[in-house]
């Protein structure tokens, strides 16, 4: 554990303490417009600073969401400047994950012929921290362009065969690109855990990582089942690490008719889940399971990498909740209905 471990724990808990509360979300859900929601978020200690310069009356939804994302990114960046160990390598992985999303977005844009919108959507906060020139990447008009721009990077190495194949065939297997990129990302994360931690710290952090991967795999399996794929196809598509989600569990999962049954099965294999609760989406179920574990671990763990990892995950869930509320407000849904969609 580094010298700054205790301060990372204290700082993580302090940042977590500023999270929006259920009461804040209830108030946010009652807002009637994006402007009102922005004005409310501006008054919170969590997002107040990030929104200080904006005029809530004129802010666009996309801009608001971009600023909230930037706020999270800046917190992680601040941690990486403050602590030179775990926060530093975690930050590198956060950047990698965001880069992966951008690359997939560009590939999708080229595949759809909608390359114009990419540059406008690229998060500006990522541009200066990314090892890839994201704005240049946005100029890509073909798979060859992407392949050329990514050459010399790890992503280029992973995607090269698929991009070459796509250049010849004129179409690309996006699902496979996604699988390769995220597999690379998680392998790199697990290597980092192996290299950066020892003993009990490593065991605890690995458990947290693997649980998080399990939940992502549950979502992938459920979605693939909805598109008619079988357990074999799902097993090939999921991230190749597991905590409790064995091959047998995946097969069983693919047979469940609804989210309620999935919840019951997850409870059977040892995940702590309230089976009497109603879940509207599979993400709501998996995030509910994750959030309970993350919050508990964040409060009781004595290991700074685990605490920091839990903070990152909690903040991302919180951000997704805020985006859900903004989306709900835009569609004019009643506050109570939006509240039901959140993971609190």
């Amino acid at each position: 554990m580094s010298f700054s471990s205790n301060s990372v724990i204290a700082k993580s808990r302090a940042v977590f303490g500023r999270s929006l509360t259920a009461e804040d979300f209830a108030q946010l859900c009652d807002k009637k417009s994006v402007a009102e929601a922005a004005a409310f978020l501006k008054t919170t200690s969590r997002f107040g600073e990030a929104l200080a310069g904006v005029d809530p009356r004129t802010i666009h939804r996309g801009q608001l969401e971009a600023l909230l994302e930037k706020s999270n990114f800046e917190i992680f960046e601040h941690f990486s400047r403050f602590d030179f160990t775990e926060s530093k390598w975690f930050f590198r992985e956060i950047v990698t994950q965001l880069e992966a999303e951008q690359i997939l977005s560009v590939i999708q844009g080229v595949a759809d012929g909608s390359t114009d919108s990419y540059i406008a959507a690229v998060p500006t906060f990522l541009i200066r921290r990314s090892r890839i020139d994201l704005l240049e990447l946005g100029k890509a008009e073909s798979f060859e362009d992407i392949s050329r721009m990514l050459s010399g990077t790890e992503f280029g190495r992973i995607l090269q065969p698929l991009l070459t194949e796509a250049a010849a065939a004129g179409k690309i297997n996006i699902r496979e690109c996604e699988r390769r990129i995220y597999t690379y990302y998680y392998i790199s994360c697990m290597k980092m855990v192996e290299k950066g931690c020892k003993g009990a710290v490593k065991t605890e952090l690995k458990r947290a990582f693997l649980k998080s991967i399990d939940m992502k795999n549950v979502v992938t399996c459920f979605r693939m089942k909805a598109f008619g794929y079988d357990a074999g196809a799902a097993a090939e598509q999921i991230i190749p690490f597991r905590y409790r989600l064995s091959r047998a569990a995946i097969e069983q999962l693919m047979q469940q008719p609804d989210i309620g049954r999935v919840a019951a099965q997850l409870a059977e294999i040892g995940f702590s889940v309230d089976t009497s609760a109603q879940f509207q989406t599979i993400e709501q179920l998996t995030e509910r399971i994750s959030l309970d574990y993350l919050r508990r671990t964040l409060r009781i763990s004595r290991n700074s990498p685990t605490v920091y990892f839990c903070l990152i995950e909690c903040m991302q869930i919180e951000l997704r909740n805020v985006k859900t509320v903004i989306e709900g407000i835009r569609y004019g849904l009643p506050g109570s209905e939006i509240m039901e969609m959140l993971v609190l």
Binding site: Q63, I119, A120, T124, L135
Partner: protein, 654 residues
């Protein structure tokens, strides 16, 4: 003096007399209504819609718009009686206010928009071409506004899309500027710039000059609109002056009628008759019953509540004389006593004043605290003010004893300078200052503590006997056994250390120290025996010994720690003297014959104020701590429910 005796009043009559009965109860301000509907599971009285609430809410909104703080006014002159009459009046007053308010809000919105436009124009002051010329271009379209600063770099990647952005001014969040685009690609450019979150500012048609002139014009328009807005505010103010008194009187009456109607939900109405009940102080119950019975068909039954057999929900109101009354605040802070309990207010008042006086003894400072308390009582409703008046006097009295006037000890002779006293205290020569009698002071502080602990245990014993809880009275730590143990230990210790007499004989130890401890140890079985209770709880011998041993050990330790806790009384006497010594040193008056100058006086004044502020507060808190922790803990159980008479006030409506 103590806990006010309560009576239960049941009121019954014809249903049409319900409102009048409730009004009388409200007006008495001494009637706490019981919710009959809760007990009977029906709320017949509250089923109807409140006919006054509409008019009240409308007027409340009007009062808020006019900036009137709601307060109760005499409403004898208010002519309106029926809900319709109130509605009409509310409509008449509100419509005028609503019209002005709507215009005011419209004006504010317009000013806000103009300011926002002007803010943008101000960022374009370098633009010396008229907007008319720019906006009237046929082949090139122009937009003005601001772009998030982060997105500026992205524009470089759209150079082939015929968008030319000219930045004017920049802050960390935004860049203000204009963009030009060919008319035929305008739609695409607008869409692209929108996706980059460009916030377009639309200038009104009449603003067609260059940026500088436009800015000037906008400022003039804003000034004009602000002037108009001030006129509207003036109109609002005139409206407020015209209607304020009448509005408050009508609202007072409406509030009264509204709340009385709401109280119907707590009454029972059946077969054309109503009934409700509630508690009223016994000394006022007769008067209230007589008033109620003056109403046609209304009958009352008054039942005085005896503390011995009081139901659990009887509310408690403390009733003390004017000297002790301010100290009720401390008792309420801890929790009111049970109806069949004991009001410790007089005890708290005396002990608080005494301990504060001892710890903060200074004639000048005490009288100043008292005077400050008097002034605060006159001009504020602060509950601490009357307490300050009283404790200040005790502080002054002890100041006389210590011979301290604003820390100067040469004006009054201190008690320890009197020969008969210092000889009585065992000193062979006159102590020069209070620090030389520190030991005596600390022993005296312990003595005070011992007396207060004994008194508290005695109170507890008496109270338990009164409640016929003989087990607790005889065998508890704060009962007879604890009292005997504590007194015996104190007497023997005092005999040994002060008079050289060893009382610790085997008989003394066994009878007065060991036996009470044994009784405390076996409190539960002995209590059951005395009270004739068959305990069904099965406890193993091991558990019994461990639990009771720990309890006994903790009790014995608490006797010691509680007694030592009172040392702070002596400690603060010394601390006060020490702080004043520092002030004297800073002022340079600690040596005989020191010259008194203006700076000496200033240092003395500031020093005294600081000592009063810091030490006064500290002593106040420490004494309260002693009261709550060392005294109340031994006998007091703040389990009473506060008496909450029904009354009409604007409370949360403001």
């Amino acid at each position: 003096m103590g806990i006010e005796k309560m009576s239960l009043i049941s009121v019954e009559g014809r249903a049409e007399q319900l409102d009048k009965s409730l009004m009388l109860c409200c007006e008495s301000r001494n009637f706490q209504m019981n919710d009959i509907s809760e007990k009977n599971g029906s709320a017949a009285g509250g089923a109807a819609q409140n006919p006054y609430s509409g008019a009240y809410e409308k007027l409340r909104g009007t009062a808020a718009a006019l900036g009137i703080t709601l307060e109760f006014r005499n409403y004898d002159s208010v002519k309106q009686e029926t809900p319709d009459e109130f509605e009409r009046w509310a409509e008449e007053v509100s419509s005028g206010v609503d019209k002005i308010r709507a215009e005011h809000e419209e004006m504010l919105k317009s000013i806000d928009e103009l300011r926002s436009t002007d803010a943008c124009v101000k960022h374009l002051l370098g633009l010396n071409v008229s907007f008319r010329d720019l906006f009237s271009m046929k082949y090139v379209k122009l937009r003005i506004g601001r772009l998030p600063a982060d997105n500026l770099q992205k524009l470089d990647y759209y150079t082939n899309r015929c968008i030319h952005f000219i930045p004017f001014e920049k802050n960390p969040d935004y860049v203000w500027g204009i963009y030009l685009t060919p008319a035929d690609t305008c739609e695409f450019a607008d869409s692209l710039m929108k996706s980059l979150y460009f916030e377009r500012t639309r200038l009104p048609d009449y603003l067609d000059e260059d940026a500088k002139t436009t800015d000037q014009m906008l400022e003039n328009i804003i000034d004009d609109e602000e002037r108009l807005d001030r006129q509207l505010e003036q109109q609002m103010s005139e409206y407020r002056d015209k209607y304020k008194d009448e509005l408050l009187a009508v609202m007072s009456k409406l509030k009264f009628l509204t709340d009385c109607f709401e109280l119907r939900s707590m009454a029972l109405i059946s077969a054309g008759r109503f009934s409700f009940s509630g508690y009223c102080p016994t000394r006022l119950a007769g008067k209230l019953s007589a008033e109620l019975e003056k109403l046609d068909s209304v009958q009352t039954v008054e039942v005085p509540i005896k503390p011995k057999n009081a139901p659990a929900d009887v509310p408690v109101r403390l009733h003390n004389n004017v000297i002790f009354r301010p100290f009720e605040m401390f008792v309420k802070m801890y929790g009111l006593p049970a109806y069949n309990g004991f009001d410790p207010t007089p005890y708290v008042a005396v002990t608080y004043c005494l301990m504060f006086g001892i710890m903060f003894g200074d004639v000048g400072q005490g009288l100043l605290v008292s005077l400050l308390g008097l002034l605060l009582s006159k001009f504020t409703r602060n509950g601490l003010a009357p307490i300050m008046t009283r404790i200040g006097l005790f502080s002054a009295a002890f100041g006389v004893l210590y011979g301290s006037v604003f820390g100067i000890e040469t004006i009054i002779t201190p008690f320890f300078h009197r020969e008969n006293i210092w000889r009585l205290l065992g000193y062979t020569k006159q102590p020069e200052n209070i620090f030389q009698v520190a030991t005596t002071l600390l022993i005296a502080a312990l003595g005070i503590g011992i007396v207060l602990i004994m008194l508290s245990m005695l109170f507890n014993t008496i109270l338990k006997f009164r409640k016929r809880d003989f087990g607790e009275a005889l065998f508890s730590v704060n009962g007879v056994s604890g009292l005997v143990f504590y007194i015996s230990l104190v007497v023997a210790a005092a005999g040994m250390f002060m008079f050289g007499t060893n009382l610790f004989t085997p008989a003394y130890i066994i009878c007065l120290i060991v036996l009470p401890l044994v009784l405390i140890f076996f409190k539960h079985p002995l209590s059951n025996l005395v009270m004739g209770v068959n305990s069904t709880e099965k406890v193993s011998v091991g558990n019994f010994i461990i639990e009771n041993f720990i309890e006994l050990f903790e009790a014995a330790l608490s006797f010691l720690s509680n007694t030592m806790s009172y040392l702070r009384i002596g400690g603060f006497v010394l601390s006060h003297a020490g702080m004043m010594l520092v002030v004297a040193q800073l002022a340079g008056t600690n040596t005989p014959g020191a010259e008194i100058t203006v700076s000496t006086v200033i240092v003395y004044v500031i020093g005294n104020l600081i000592v009063m502020g810091i030490e006064g507060l500290l002593v106040g808190i420490q004494v309260l701590r002693l009261e709550f922790y060392e005294i109340f803990n031994r006998f007091y159980d703040g389990s009473g429910q506060s008496f909450r008479p029904i009354e009409i006030n604007f409370g949360a409506d403001n």
